[in-house]
Structure formats: C-alpha cells, structure tokens
Symmetry: D5
Subunit: 119 residues, 10 copies
C-alpha cells in the first residue's frame, strides 16, 4: 500500500457480511484550504458506517483524507464529496459523516451527511 496522499480508497472483504454492524472511524487531523482566503481550515471527521461486502482499509482512509491538505474546499461541499467517495468505494448499507470544523470568526460549523443504500 502506498504511503502517499491518494484519492483512492482501498477496501477489504467484510469478515461478517451476514450481520449488520457498525464501524466508527474518527480523526481529529483533517485539514484543507479555504477557497476564499487560501488559509488553512481544520476539522474533526467522524465516519460511521454499516458495511455490506466491503470495509475501508484504515490506513487508506488516512491517506485519502491527507489528499485534501493542499486543496481548496467549502465546508458543505467537501463533506458531501467525502461521503460520495466512500459510498462509491464501499457501497455500504448505511454511512454517516460528521465534519466538525474549527471555529472561524466566532462561529463553529458542523456538517452531518448521511447515506442509505437503496434496496
């Protein structure tokens, strides 16, 4: 597996697809750039999902988030895009992403995005 930032999410087979269960992955180390000012933004990302046949590899998730370090990204847009990328890679039964951005101008912003698979 690479140790460079990458938009590719690596996956592995769910060891227990017969059971609905939940995986939570939290990282307080997400950073990107503000598209208006170019200055750094920071967030804590909390992912929670119910795998179907695939799980996301943890190190790959870290490298994926690292890939935003030099990108401009609006709060609402980047939260939706990250969830979309996860859904494309895993097609989970359920997924929720909570992005808690650091305070800017006295304002704390959090974006919560959910996905449910279509039966």
């Amino acid at each position: 597996m690479s140790t460079l930032p990458s938009k590719e999410l690596e996956v592995f087979p769910n060891p227990k697809p017969s059971r609905d269960y939940t995986i939570r992955i939290e990282t307080p180390e997400f950073t990107c750039l503000c598209p208006k000012t170019g200055q750094p933004d920071f967030a804590t990302l909390k992912l929670e999902y119910i795998p179907d046949v695939l799980c996301v590899e943890l190190k790959s998730w870290k490298l994926y988030l690292w890939s935003f370090r030099d990108e401009g990204a609006f709060h609402e847009d980047v939260s939706n895009r990250i969830l979309d990328d996860l859904v494309s890679a895993l097609n989970p039964r359920y997924a929720k992403l909570t992005a808690e951005f650091n305070v800017r101008g006295g304002v704390y912003t959090t974006v919560v995005v959910e996905h449910e698979s279509q039966p």
Copy 2:
C-alpha cells in the same frame, strides 16, 4: 460582502440539494439589550438546518447576529424573529434555533424554536 452589521442574510446554492443533510452553526457571541433595563444580555445561539436549494453564508450570519448588538430584545421574541428571518432567506426543509441566555437573577433561560417546511 459587507463587513458591517446587517439584517440581510446572504445565501449561496446548496451544493448537494439531492440529499437531506444537516448544517450546524454555533456562536457563543450573541449580545443584545434588555428592553426593560437597557443593560446588555448575552446568549449562545445554536442553529441547525437542512438546506433546500439555498445555504446561508457563514460570515453573513455573523454580521446578521451582530446587528442585534444595539437593539432591545425579549428572549422569547428575538429567538422567534431570528428563525423567521432565516426561514425567509433560505426556505430550508427544516430549521431549529436554540438560544441559551446567560444567567440573570439566578435563572438560566433557553428558548428552542423549530420550523418544518410545508410539503
């Protein structure tokens, strides 16, 4: 965009209108005046909404809240008015405003106001 207090809320297009998702914006820096005594009141405002086709611009929300700094405002009334202004500007699918006022006379007051769009 102005950098002066303003009752106008600026908006931008929701980047993912096909999905119901939640945006939370919290500011601990709301202040207005007590209509009875003229003395300052302080509150933490927590907004949570599901956008339809529009999102509220964060800096504009800050300037909007700033516009109450020199106004007299009753707790119950101002909480409803702020939510009404947001609904007028965004027409969100759902919105909730929680206003936690600082203690006065040994009493802590919180007002929680909700809006759901009509189908």
Copy 3:
C-alpha cells in the same frame, strides 16, 4: 412588579402563539424546609414548557420560588404543586418540572413531573 416573595405568577402574551416552541428555565437556588425536621432543603429546579397564549414572566418565577423559603414541603408534593400552579397560571400546551434535591443521608432524590394540555 413586586420584589417580594409571592405565590402569584405574572404572565405576558406569547409573542408567537402560531408556533410550538420550548422555553427552559433553570434555577439552582430553590430552598424550602423539611416538614419533619424543620431544617433547610435545597434543590435545582428545571422547568421546560411549550406556551399556548401566555408565557411566565422570569422575575415573577423567581419571586414565586422564593415564596417557599419558609415553608415546609415534602419532595414529591412540592414538585407536583409547583407544576400545578404553573399550569393554572399559563395553561401551557406542555410542561415538565424536574426537581433535583441536594443529597440527604447519602441519598440523592429527583422528582420529574409532566403535564400535557387536553385537546
């Protein structure tokens, strides 16, 4: 308005009766007397209600609670009586009172009383 303890609760018109919304009022400074021993009891009172056409005036609520300072009162009984008085004065759509009494004899007691208006 008086500044003396009083069993009268003052009210004012709900500024937004067309909307169901919630008002929470918390005071950590309730004190009465134990009817058995005559010694002081202390509690934190948390009121939460949905107003109909009337709201309770905050200072009046404080003076009302003050009126119990020299009264004997059992935990279960006084919690119900305070809610009854609020319901009589406001006829709210919903009300809940939580009374958290200070520890006595190694025991912490809380009484939670609710009211819903009859349609």
Copy 4:
C-alpha cells in the same frame, strides 16, 4: 421509624396519584459481601419509579439498603431481589433499578432491572 438496618420498606400515600410522574433515588453507598470470597463489594444504586398509590419513604430505603451490609450477594441476584422487594412494598406503575458495581479484576459490571405493572 427505626434507625436500624431493616428489610422492611416503609411507605406513604402518593400525594398526586392522578398523575404519572417519576421519582429517582440514587445512593453511592451500597455495600454487601462477595459470596465466593467473603470480601466487600460496593455499588451505586439508582432507582427510578412511577408511583401508583404508594411512595417509598427515603430513610426507610436507606435502612433497607444498609441491611445488605453483612450479607453475601451475587450481582445479578441481588439486583433482582431489591427490585422485587420494592415492587412488593409499593406496587408501582413502573420501576427500574440500575446497580453499578465497583471494578473487580479490571472489570466493571452494571445490572439494569425493570418492572412494569400488569394492567
């Protein structure tokens, strides 16, 4: 009322039987003996109940819990027995007992027992 440990729970008439309301009684001072080793066990007991026509007298509850000080008691069994005794004495509309035992061998054990009256 006695001031000795006692298996008898004293009761008094519910002052507001026309209303469903909740009484919570928490004590961090429960202790009994381990039936296997004879060594002391400790727990925090949290009782929550909706009274019907009777309430439990607080001091009597304290003396009742004291009566286990010199008894051997398994976690699961004693939690069920305490709830059964309360139900026998009060016949409440609802009751829940949560027993949080102190850590033993790196393991924290909690037992949660509920009762609902039969209509």
Copy 5:
C-alpha cells in the same frame, strides 16, 4: 475455575429468567496483536446482554479476553468473533459488543456488533 487464559467461557444459571434485564460488563484492558505489524493493539470492550437461561461468569470473561493477548486480530473480525463466542456459550436474548480501539495513525476506530435471538 482456572486462572489461565482460556477460550472457554464459563456460565451459571440466570437467577431470574422470568424477567428481561440487562447486564453490562466493561473492561479497559483488552490487548491483542496487529496481524500486519505484530505490534500490540489495545481496546476497551463493553458488553451488554439480556440473559436467557445462562449468565457468563465474570472471572471467566476476563480469562477469555486474556486469551487474545498473543493473537493477531483485525479490529472488525475480532469484534465479531468475540460476540459469536458469547452467543455460542450463553444463547442470550440480546447482546451487543462495543470495541473501542486505541488511536493508531491519528485514527480512532470503534466496532459495534449486535445479536438478537431468533424467536
């Protein structure tokens, strides 16, 4: 009972099978090895179950968890296996295992696995 690590879970008869009630057992001292690097992993395990005719003996649960100390184990897989072993030994009416793994590479992972008995 043995005092050695063991995959065998010892059980005892549920003292109150006529009632649905909950037993929670938490240990912050689970450790196994990472199958990729061979280095130690650590987790807090929280078990919650509703017993049917059998309960798990606490010391036996501790020895069972100890048996993973020298084993390689993936987060998702080991969480499912531990729940499966408990279900095999107890056949509980309900069981949930929450495994909160220590941070690795800036990422906190939690796996939540549930079982409900078939009627």
Copy 6:
C-alpha cells in the same frame, strides 16, 4: 445538641494535638439575604483549618451556617465574620475560609479569608 439554628459553635478536644494536620469542611448550602434588596444570596463555603486543642463539631457548624438564613449580609463582611467566629471558638493554628457566591448580574464573586495564630 440543639437542632435549631444557632450562633454558638460547639467544640470537642483535638484527638491528636501533637501533630499539625488539616481538616476541610465544605458546604454548598449557605444562604443569607442581600442587605440592599432583601433577596436571597447563595454561596458554597469551604473551610480549611489546622486544629490546636479544639475541633469544631460538624453538626454545630451546619447549625451555625443555618443561623444566617434570615440575616442581611454583605459578601466581604460576612466572610470575615464567619472566620472570626471560628477563630474565637477554636483558636486554631491556621484557618482559611473561601466563600464562593452564586452569580449576580453576570458577576461571580469569591472571598478568601485567612487566619494564622500568633506564636
């Protein structure tokens, strides 16, 4: 001993006068009246002292603090007077009283008073 409020502090002989040691007594239940407005004030009182030949009896300390319930008292003055009364009754080697008053008008006030015996 009386069970009425009393300005008299009861004492008992220090069981270990040969050793300097510290006794801390904290009560969150002090209440008096504001001399300006007549309305109740509340405080947490923290006493810490090194006894000489006498210790203060705990229940007597509680009854002493109770005696302020119907008295007007300024924060700075009452804190000094309580320490003076303790010093008169016990003549301790050292004593410190910390009075943390509840918030009034958005302002939290604490008074810290110390005494050291003269050699």
Copy 7:
C-alpha cells in the same frame, strides 16, 4: 447608583482592613470593538485583589466594564488600562487582572496584568 455605563468606579470602606484577604470577581460578559476591523471582541475578565482601605462596589464594576461596549480596544492595552483604573480608584495592596479573549483566527489570547502597592 447609576444604571448607565460609566468609567467611574464606586467604592466602599473595607470592612476588615486589619486583615489581608482576597476578593475575586469574574465576569464572562466583557465586550469591546476591534480597533482594526470595528468588529466585536469578547472576553472573560477575572479580577483578584487584596483591598487596603477601599473595596470596589460590584454593580459599579459591572457598569464600568459595560462602558467599553462601543470602544475600540487592543487586547494588551485595554487589559493594562482596566487594571490602572482599578488601582487609581482603590489603591489595593495587590491586584491581578486576567483577560481571556475569545478565539480569533484559530488563536486564543490571554493577558495577565499584576499590581503590587509600594510600601
């Protein structure tokens, strides 16, 4: 006493000048304007002082802090000026002011200023 913002600090005689003791006054409701941008700044102010012959009246302190609401003020400068004003009004034996400003641009700033009287 006025109920308007005022740069005048009112004082009263220290009730116990023979003793060195400490008075702490904390308010989380200080607000002024940023001299560069004109936008509001917020801070929690913690004052601690040992009175000599004068104490500061609490309501007057609140009105004094209120007087900065419409003034531009740099963090370092305003903290020193507030302490200077207090020293001018009270000539205390000791005084310390801690001003904890709300986060701006991801940066939390605190200024701590002390004064000791000259013998």
Copy 8:
C-alpha cells in the same frame, strides 16, 4: 497471606532504598460506622509515602482498611490512627493520608494528615 480483615500490615523490602521516590495508593472503598448513630460512613482514602527500607504490601493494605468495617470511628481520630499504624509498620521517610468522607447533612469533610521521619 490471610484473606481476612486484619489490623496487621504486611511489608516487603524497598527495592530501591538508595532513591527517594513516592508511592500513592488510593481506595474509594473505605467504610466504618458513625460512633454516635451507628450508621455507616464511607470515605475515599489516599495514601502517599516515600519508603525507607520497607514498603507496604498492597493486598495487606486492603485487608487492613477492611478491618474498620464494623468499628465506630470519628473522622479526625481514625485518619490519625491509620497514619500512625502505617508509620509503625513502615517507618517511612514521609507519609500523607487524605481521607475524603462522603457528604453528611450537606457537609463534605476531608482530613489530611502528614508524617515526616526524624533525622
């Protein structure tokens, strides 16, 4: 070693007598009886000591504290006696015992006792 309550403290040789170092032992499970009322008291005991040639065996400390379970004991006296027993058994270079008793009558009491060896 016995597994019964015992006033005897067992010791073992300090593995590093050439170095001054500190051992802290905390137990939240101390209980004795109130000599006035016969009712149970509870405390958290925090021991901190610098060993000379002997250390106290941990299980023995637990059995020693257990020996107070059926004894009447005043707060100030029992704290001094426990430290005296430890000093007799170990002759440590330094020792401090902090006994934090559970709240009684709204009052929290802590006793702090220290010993330094004579050179």
Copy 9:
C-alpha cells in the same frame, strides 16, 4: 500585512513597558511534516511571554506558524527553533513555548522550551 505564510514575525510597541505582564497565545492548529515519513504531524502550540519593548502581532504569529505547513520538522528541534525566532524578533523579558504533539504510535509527546533575557 501579508496574508501569506511567512517566516517574518511582525511586532508593535509594548503599550505598557513599565510593567511586567504576561501574554498567552494558544493555537491548536499547528501542522508540519514528519522528516522520516513525510506524513503530517499536528500540535497545539502554547506561547507565554513577558514583553520588553515589543509585542508580537497576532495575525503575524498565525502566518508564521502556517509557514511550517510544508516543512519537515522534528519535535524537539522545531520547538526550539520557534522559540528562537520569537526571541530574535521580540527580545522578551521571558518566554515559554509548550508544543503538545498529537499521539503517534500510542505515544503523546510534549516539548517545553523557556527563555529568560540576560540582564
């Protein structure tokens, strides 16, 4: 002033050089790269200093810390270099930098560096 990352620290005259006082500046948003692996590191930086004739401008401090975003930096070295740069720019009477790095491999590292001016 620039809004780009910069190694230059801007300064302004100390408004009260006649008094020793303390300025604390904390940012939880420091990030650099690990020189061994190239992967991002994160830290909270806490600066505390006593100004002499110059103070550091806050926005400039933020831009200075931003300049490390793409640099490789060892924990111990970068902490010393940042303090050295501040000392070169301000020549403060005293300065302390605390760098609390995010956990890596189960290990939390903090570096604390101090400077005192030579008289």
Copy 10:
C-alpha cells in the same frame, strides 16, 4: 531501526544542548505480568526529562516498553528499573517517571520516581 520489542533504547543528539528544556512522553499502553498471579497488569507511563547531550528516540521508547509485555514485574521495582535504564542510556540532566497502574482489588497505585544528574 528494529520493529521488535527490545531492551535497547536508541538515542539521538540533543538539537539544543545549550538550553535546559523539558520533553514529556506519555503512553497509556504499558502492560506487564503480575509476578504473583501471572495475570496481566496495565499502566499509563508518563516520562518527563531535561536532555543533556542525548534525547531518546520515540519509537525506540515504544519498543522498549513493549519488551515488558511478557515479563513479571512488581510495581515499585519496574518503575525504578525503567528510570534506571533511561538514565543509563541518556544521562539526562533531570528525569521523572510516573507509573499509574490500573485498579486491582479496589486499589489504585501510582509510583513516582525522580533522577537528578550529579554536577
């Protein structure tokens, strides 16, 4: 560098030997075996030291602590040995190790060991 457990501590040159500064390294993942029962013990280890000419490499510290995983170790002895090994490898100007062991038998034990270099 090896990725196996090892008693060897690797070092690197202190990048700023001209300055006394402090490095803190905390790991909550220390585990060894109880020499009496063979069962696992767990501890949080907090190291704080002032380097002279050498610093300890972080990964090497982690591998060193890992080397105790299968060893029997008494609390007091292992804490002293770990500090001795660090002193042998680094000869630091100052070092302190705090070992906070997990609760056993209701007892929480902490060992604090210090070293100062001889001038």
